[in-house]
């Protein structure tokens, strides 16, 4: 589904990703861990298509197409979803209006007719239950006045509504208490299928107790320096990142 080869990316002339390789297949959950400043969020931003980053080398193939050539909105329409670390507030725009606009833009791109108001509301009801999101939040302005936990749940609710092929969760666990963490993780697990894939970016192992990864990758200094089964996450939790740093310091 996703093949990243030798990806180099920089911002303001500073190279952040320095030859990153990663392959994700349908049905898989990949966890990307690493110390602060390793390039985790940069990877998420580059895949989603943030313009501030300059790609200097490498390729990214998404479902047989060149992802890096696609406009940001087309990546989303092709089924790439980013759950933001810091979800953005859009005052005056209701969550439902926002999502209906998004859903219809995606449907139009795929040559499907716009969803009817009735079907849309039924979908909202069904999907909001997955993350135990209060129906009232669906009619409030996008993320405005939401608590940290509500914002993250709203991200997963949006993911459920848009049904992506590849979801990237960028530090979705940050700022969540244990109950919210469980709800968010359960939501992600319920959305999992053998057709879609998930990349979980996290600093801590905690989230991986709930979202069990098939592979764990350690990102350090712009590269994936170590990959392994889910147990690697426990090892990192126990030992910290210092041994990685020592091993790969240059």
């Amino acid at each position: 589904m996703l093949k990243i080869k030798n990806l180099h990316a920089s911002i303001d002339g500073k190279e952040i990703l320095k030859g990153l390789n990663l392959e994700v297949n349908p049905g898989e959950v990949h966890a990307i861990m690493g110390p602060n400043g390793a390039g985790k969020s940069t990877l998420a931003s580059v895949l989603a298509g943030r313009e501030e980053y300059e790609i200097t080398e490498g390729t990214v193939d998404f479902e047989g197409a060149d992802l890096l050539e696609m406009a940001t909105e087309d990546r989303a329409r092709e089924g790439l979803f980013l759950a933001f670390q810091y979800p953005v507030e859009i005052p005056g725009v209701s969550n439902v209006n926002f999502l209906r606009t998004a859903l219809n833009e995606i449907r139009e791109y795929r040559g499907e007719p716009a969803i009817s108001a009735k079907d849309f509301m039924a979908l909202v009801k069904e999907k909001s239950a997955i993350v135990e999101l209060d129906a009232k939040l669906a009619s409030r302005s996008v993320n405005e006045g939401f608590s940290g936990g509500e914002k993250k749940r709203n991200e997963i609710f949006q993911m459920a509504m848009l049904d992506p092929k590849l979801a990237i969760l960028d530090e979705t666990d940050s700022g969540l208490d244990i109950d919210a963490l469980r709800i968010v993780a359960n939501g992600v697990n319920k959305l999992k299928s053998d057709k879609n894939a998930t990349i979980v970016i996290t600093h801590y192992q905690r989230l991986l107790d709930y979202i069990v990864p098939d592979f764990v990758h350690v990102l350090y200094n712009g590269q994936i320096v170590k990959s392994g089964p889910k147990e690697l996450a426990l090892e990192l939790e126990e030992k910290g990142y210092d041994w990685i740093k020592a091993e790969f310091a240059h």
């Binding site: 909105e73 329409r77 979800p87 859009i90 949006q158």
Partner: protein, 481 residues
């Protein structure tokens, strides 16, 4: 002082007029320039009563002793007031010979606004036969109003048919001495709208100038008078979302609202005069004086969506004279390219327990300048007066400007005044968030801007609000930088 070149020029000018038109009363157009005789000419053409001519002459005298104000945050070439013809016969002029002559860009814009082809043709002034539909709608509309005793007609008609009302109220809220442009309008206005709602009557429909746009060419000095008698209610709509082109560069309208005891007037405007081209050439200069007066328990609510004109100078205001009266001002002003807007409101609190709310949303794009200018004045007898003001500015580019000039004058210690102001640049983060959900940039901007203006758009009647939303989107197309 000796006789100067200027004096000579003036004499020549005046004498030319003296000969020019007293004999030429059959002409359909006044010669260029302004003097007492021109005013007599206008008044005679309109077969006005003596009192109105006297009023015009008095106003002309006031105007001629005034100088054009320069305090607003706008720059423009000063109009040559002697280079304007102040009267043209009110006939329906054909602006285009055929539909094919109409600017394709204008057609495209109207199509985007969802205006029917028939409406598009009517609005552009193409001579068409099938205006019949609009006429019949307007006719049935009028008979219904008549049943309720509501008067809704052109200003000229009101002068002939209801002189007592016009005489009593015209100039009572905006006296000619108020400002340069109001004085000019009072001297030379040609037509406009008049509306009277009788005691206790709730006008069952939105009164729209739209219905009578074809009846008379109101010209560049429009005069509007709305009187809501005791306990009555009216919602009045001015303008339309379709782009309006006009050969006259200068527009100076006067709107007066009178809300008597327990009455309520809701006045909504969508202004989309030609703003000039992308380089700032052409475009309408819009200098408007709008003001309402509230008697006891009355309420006046101004809502405006301003997207057009090269220069806008406009401060719809409320005089809260009666106790417990309420004034509201909701405004969205969009400027793009080289447009300049200096707009806001004045809330004059005279009565006890008077309340005012100001919500102003400015959006600046391109190289434009957008200023909010507002005055909240609490007089010494206005016990427990309250005001809440919120002025937000949204910047779309790095080259545009937003300015806020709030003035507060409070002479009563029991008053409560709140003012909030924010300035923000349209968030790249917000746009990216939308893009990442599959929403195109154009739709993203439309969503964000409409969300930003929601409090104001919510005040507009439903149909108008939908059109205004589309208009905002169109006005800002491709404007993020």
């Amino acid at each position: 002082m000796g006789y100067t070149e200027n004096d000579l020029a003036k004499d020549l000018e005046n004498s030319e007029y003296k000969f020019g038109f007293t004999t030429d009363i059959e002409s359909d157009r006044a010669p260029l320039g302004l003097n007492e005789d021109i005013i007599r000419f206008i008044s005679a053409k309109k077969e006005e009563p003596e009192w109105l001519l006297d009023y015009r002459l008095k106003c002309y005298k006031i105007w001629s002793e005034m100088t054009e104000p320069s305090w607003a945050h706008i720059t423009y070439p000063k109009p040559n007031f002697q280079g304007i013809s102040y009267y043209a016969a009110p006939k329906q002029t054909k602006k285009y010979e055929s539909w094919d002559d109409v600017d394709p860009e204008m057609k495209a814009t109207m199509a985007k606004l969802g205006i029917s082809l028939e409406e598009q043709q009517r609005l552009t002034g193409v001579a068409v036969d099938f205006v019949m539909d609009s006429v019949s709608v307007a006719t049935s509309f009028k008979s219904k109003l008549k049943e309720l005793g509501i008067i809704f007609c052109s200003f000229s008609e009101a002068v002939q048919e209801h002189p007592e009302l016009v005489r009593q109220y015209m100039g009572s809220v905006v006296p000619a001495t108020d400002n340069f442009y109001a004085a000019l309008n009072s001297a030379v206005f040609t037509d406009g709208s008049f509306c009277y709602i009788p005691k206790g009557v709730r006008c069952p429909m939105e009164l729209s100038t739209y219905f009578r746009i074809n009846e008379a060419n109101t010209g560049q000095f429009e005069r509007t008078l709305v009187i809501a008698d005791e306990g009555s209610y009216v919602s009045y709509l001015e303008g339309c979302t379709a782009p309006q082109r006009d050969e006259n560069q200068l527009h100076a309208a006067v709107v007066e609202l009178i809300a008597l005891k327990d009455a309520e007037i809701k006045y909504s405007t969508v202004q989309n005069w030609y703003p000039g081209d992308k380089n700032g050439d052409g475009g309408v200069f819009n200098f408007v004086t709008k003001r309402g007066i509230c008697e006891t328990n009355a309420k006046i609510s101004w809502t405006q969506v301003e997207t057009g004109s090269a220069v806008t100078w406009k401060y719809p205001s409320c005089i809260l004279k009666g106790d417990n009266s309420i004034g509201e001002f909701y405004s969205v002003a969009v400027t793009n390219n080289y447009q300049q807007a200096d707009t806001g409101t004045k809330m004059i609190h005279l009565g006890k327990n008077t309340k005012s709310t100001i919500i102003s949303k400015g959006i600046s794009a391109g190289k434009s300048h957008n200023s909010y200018r507002g005055l909240v004045q609490i007089h010494k007898n206005a016990h427990h007066a309250r005001n809440f003001s919120q002025c937000d500015s949204l910047l779309m580019t790095d080259e545009c400007g937003a300015h806020t000039f709030p003035y507060i004058e409070c002479k009563n210690p029991s008053a409560k005044i709140e003012h909030e102001a924010t300035t923000s640049k349209i968030g790249e983060d917000q746009i990216f968030y939308c893009l990442q959900r599959g929403i195109s940039e154009e739709k993203a901007i439309s969503l964000i801007v409409n969300g930003y203006c929601k409090e104001v758009l919510n005040q507009l009647p439903m149909e108008f609000a939908v059109e205004a939303q589309k208009l905002l989107t169109i006005s800002l197309e491709g404007s993020v930088g």
